[in-house]
Symmetry: D2
Subunit: 433 residues, 4 copies
């Protein structure tokens, strides 16, 4: 069913959001490695007449702590090539440069409306159980150990469906910008795009997410967007023969183990939910060598920005204290961040107004209890006098986000696309500038 070649003839029809979602679902790519996905979107938007800016010329991720390692980036290029991406596109999107923007102007003046479209997948192995529709219908992940378990495949499909709709009839005010963002997972991809200015002239910033508690057939404003920091900590000790000279080593793994337990033991805060998680640990070597290096990736989150800052300070104290306990060094860096955000009433009003026209119910605000670096874009737009909203499109009651059985009811794709198109056509608020 899923064609892996990517020549123009075989691009899925963008008005068939289900088909688009499925081809993307079958080839999930991790953050900053979304070469095939970006290429599919780029070529589709190109064919629809949108103006494109992106790849290496748009953002600078050089030396960015959130970027995968060089060999992983190279593997991504090799895989994309094997999956039918042409050489020129790999040059454009390789090395982490998968971010791009696409613009289309309507037939009359008006605001600039931006929609964030995130493209990346997760390091989760997809279920092969016949009850899991992608498995049953043959579009489950073909990329081992990776999965669209958060619905970003659907976000791209929605974005392209919106693009097809607007291209087909340019009777709308102002200008629409699709912001194709890499690496939402790990909240890494938005910051460089914001730094590149992609939000600076936006009047209304829209971000959407499938699922997260909104019921099918409804749209709901999201609340409880947590501020977060993703941290990388590298403990650097000293190797030695574990039997013959254990005392000459400095044990980086013991430092990491102490840190992990104490990070998870950071206290809750009465004023707002907080989260701490150490998600990965890598300490290579051999059983008979005192571990000289241990690298972990962690995150802290909070529903209030000031609490998040305090929590991050405490997490850093745990990391440095743990290193001191073992006489090892620790180097920490931020690999991603997002902040809290609030929805502007004026944007919600437009959404409420048009929702009926697209047969969607407006649900009660839904707590996301998670983070999204679209908040950086929202904050940037709001700081410059514009408006923003983060909405949830109900996508049915499937497996939990980030789990191997996550899925969506694909009718949500049309729901989301029709809503966004209607919002654009209705006219969004302009910024104060």
């Amino acid at each position: 069913m899923v064609n892996i070649l990517m020549d123009a003839d075989t691009l899925p029809d963008p008005t068939d959001a289900r088909a688009v979602r499925r081809t993307i679902h079958a080839f999930p790519e991790l953050g900053f490695c979304e070469i095939r996905t970006a290429n599919l979107a780029w070529r589709t938007l190109e064919s629809l007449g949108w103006v494109l800016t992106g790849g290496t010329s748009l953002v600078d991720v050089d030396g960015y702590a959130g970027l995968p390692g060089e060999s992983e980036l190279e593997t991504a290029c090799a895989e994309a090539r094997a999956q039918g991406v042409d050489h020129q596109s790999i040059d454009r999107f390789g090395g982490g440069a998968t971010a791009f923007i696409a613009e289309l102007s309507g037939n009359r003046p008006g605001p600039t409306v931006a929609l964030r479209v995130d493209m990346d997948a997760l390091p989760v192995a997809e279920s092969r159980h016949p009850d899991h529709r992608p498995a049953a219908e043959g579009f489950a992940s073909r990329n081992a150990g990776r999965m669209h378990a958060c619905g970003h495949d659907g976000h791209v499909a929605i974005g392209l469906r919106v693009a097809a709709g607007l291209s087909a009839d340019r009777d709308f005010p102002g200008r629409v910008r699709l912001i194709l963002q890499p690496a939402e997972e790990g909240v890494r991809g938005a910051a460089p795009m914001v730094a590149a200015g992609v939000c600076d002239d936006v009047d209304t910033m829209l971000a959407l997410h499938l699922g997260f508690g909104a019921s099918l057939g409804s749209v709901a404003p999201a609340t409880d967007l947590y501020a977060t920091t993703k941290l990388r900590a590298e403990f650097i000790g000293k190797a030695s023969h574990a039997s013959n000279a254990p005392e000459e080593g400095r044990n980086a793994l013991l430092a990491a183990a102490s840190a992990i337990l104490s990070l998870h033991g950071l206290p809750p805060f009465a004023s707002t939910p907080t989260r701490v998680n150490v998600g990965t640990l890598l300490s290579e070597g051999a059983p008979n060598i005192i571990p000289a290096r241990a690298i972990l990736h962690a995150e802290v989150r909070a529903g209030i920005a000031a609490v998040h800052e305090e929590l991050e300070r405490r997490a850093l104290a745990v990391l440095s204290g743990a290193a001191a306990m073992q006489g090892v060094e620790v180097r920490t860096s931020q690999t991603g961040r997002a902040t809290t955000a609030t929805n502007d009433r004026v944007v919600l009003a437009v959404i409420e107004e048009v929702s009926e026209t697209v047969d969607l119910i407006v649900g009660a605000p839904q707590p996301l209890r998670a983070s999204d670096d679209a908040t950086l874009m929202m904050n940037r737009v709001q700081d410059l006098g514009g408006h923003a909203a983060y909405i949830l499109i109900g996508s049915g009651d499937f497996g939990a986000h980030h789990s191997p059985t996550f899925d969506i009811d694909e009718s949500a794709l049309e729901h989301g696309a029709h809503l966004i198109e209607a919002v654009v056509r209705a006219g969004c608020p302009e910024g104060v500038a």
Copy 2:
């Protein structure tokens, strides 16, 4: 200086132990992946007229817990090919089948004397400092992240030098068997060879090691060979979104962290030294996912076999208790083992007798305070009525074993080879059988 091609013309001269050691040093290979090294030894011994048995036909490592993963074994084949090993040899030694034996008979009846020759290197990144001779003289490791930091390169050079010496003059009693063992690190390679019967008809079993406290120009019997088990433990929990549903996860990494701290906290035993080390930990995923899996490799050691057994029992209790704390599963397997061993006086007597003829001083017994699965070979030979000894050849005062600056005084290669050759020619004790 080091030729990476391996056609017959370019094999190093086996009488030049220094050259042999350096070409092996430059291409260190991890346990069960010693394809280039085994091939170099095989072809050299073949050219010297030794009778060879090995590769896939000798030992069965299928399903062996100590074997590297399939992709690592495949990478080893690819690398060996790139480094000049021919197709036929890769077929022989690929997939973990690097073990082989080589035999030569003397010109008169006598005992079967076996010498264990271990071939593998360590996952240590070699120093590039100009004070480190391999770096200064251009034969430092060309295989990233691996290093002959324990002298096995020298062991192979000694073995081949002994072979060259004996081939040149077959005036010796009985038969000599070189046992080319993979994966001494992790004490993984001996057990399958012993199971294959390579020690069953041996009268005198010799194992040697460079360094470990013997002074240059001396040979010393080794004591304090620790019994050891290498353990792999895999904690299997359940992933979930770390912010939005943390309670649905079961945290495998927290279980591992608790286990690591408590394993290192196992008590010392008054009767004998013990060692516990967790040398590696791998928990992949993402900062925003509760870790569903964590894999560690550990070892326990003791100077007394019964204490070692008790210590292993306690380590397993720590692992299962830690899993229970987090509601996760743990699967443990043994990936290697060695035991204690004692030197037979009759073998030491021969060594003492001939040492003067090769200008070596006999030093006091040296505590190894480490493990070697040559002990499994020694025990097997002793159990069947034969004799055994483990000796240390002084190799100068360089960086510690397993450290990035480990090196040897290469004159030790001649010392070791001349001693072994002299022992063989002098006639070793026969077994009782």
Copy 3:
């Protein structure tokens, strides 16, 4: 200022709530040891004509896990005697039997209204700083290491002030019951009273607390009453000489340390706040002995009863897993519990109605984010068809609850007493029975 003798002549005047509060404040007593406090209340209520039932004849705390140890109970008796309590009263209230109830009937039929009055103090050392009014004005704690840092001194003063008011004019419907509860800290004292039936015929159950975010001059319904369990865990290992035979010990303290870290690392739940705390640890012995015993006291809490149950299950799994890691035994027992509770609208309506008459503002519902075993009484009454409410009386903006500088604005005592008296006089809802 504070008279420590307790003969009838020297009891404080119950209409002077400030004086009552101060004499209680000066002699804080821990849970189940409130002998002096209970005696003061008993004798005051007796003098006001209330019908009293209590001490050893009311509740059975024998073998109750939440009871202090025998020596602590004996010390409490000795201290009470030294502080002027007569022999007969010590017989009544000693051994943990400080609970009692007091009843007064009005001059016409009506509902039974109960007010919970908790009496115990905390193991906190009170501030001696001159900015702390109890220190400045001479009524700071005279009982070392104990303090009324949660306002229960004020609760007793309010209860007695209500009693004095109602005794002076019996023009009210039905019957009022004061429930003098020991050991609210640790949520230990309510369960045995509920079991003794003190709530079984109550139509309207009232609980109040000073402070907790209500502003001075206001009364506010409390929300976010967390379900909680207090746990005692005793790890029982085996002592041995730490140097000469460390391997013969089984280390109870290491088990406890692992448990503590993992208890604090239990995950948050997305649906409701949770809390885990290990508040005490005792492991006696000597530096040169492997610790054979470690006793900890912990608590788990959650805003939803089902989450609380799951959290408690996980806490118990941590405790038993930690014991298994060290080969020690663990015995756990529940020393206290409380549950969630909701306020009945019909009760709040009465409070709102009368508040104006006593010059109190009705504030917005205030999250308590804590636990109180008055919830067991509330649930019991509601289960039997009655009604309940938990209200907060604003007491000014002093140091945090449970801190050494906690204090109240004493005008809150009159506020609380007048409100309760007005509610009783207004007539509370009857139960369905």
Copy 4:
């Protein structure tokens, strides 16, 4: 059987070492609290004509970190009084001043020979099992939770038996000094005595210990006396309400728990055995309060002084790192110490010479694998040119030292006393001075 009164008439006969041992065994006293024991020894030695110096006038323990708390010292006085010690003696020995020395001169010139006699017991609850002789024969500990589980009761009995023997016949050279030392457990009592000069004029210093692997009927030199430090660490955080404001606390107990695990995880040293133990932990408070304080007592030991120093440095790093992890303060102090020691051949020669005359076999050197602050006395004497030895007197094969069933074969008391008396009479080596 055991008379608890201590008037002159009821002192046990010092020539009946068994009786002396039993009365001491029945009333075990912890370090610096040995009032009854010291008094018994003092009065006995006084009656035998020895010259006594001691109590408050001999050593200064004021402000000494190893001293028990004031209330514990006061309790010790009260208990001693209740057990028949007169007022004057309590004045002499109270407040930690239980150390004293006793001297007797022979009838001709000669060296000063000192014997260390330690008096304190352990915080171990003695077995009441009928197989345990002290229980079966009625002299088990009457002091709850304390026990002579290390044989110091026997040491005092030996010392007094030696005194009786020498007093009865003063035909010996030189002068004998008994050094009655408190608080050997915790290695606290020797340092202040050494500082007071009690070893400065000693020619031959003797220390003995019952048991520790010497077989009954033998005397053996002790080896493997470990250097040690006893550490007290107090973590000081900040209390807060664990539910309502957990983030305002700074958790001292979590810091202690992390430290405990990492202290036990300090690496072994290849060159010599090491030991680390955290023997006690106290963190008081309540389940609903974030623990503001946690106090632990730990020890580190090593068979080589330099290793011990390094190990102590690492232990301190663990403690301060753990505190930093939680944002709490830690204060550490040394409460005791001992060092390594070696036996002088000239002293052993005398022992070997006389042993036959007292029917004792001289056993092979026995590793103590423990610490004793008699080593501070030995080192002091050796530093000033004198000689020293530490010997073990076989006392049968009973429960392990420091266990609830430890016991001795009481014939060992005569063995030890006769040996020491014979050594004194034979004439010990003089120092160089």
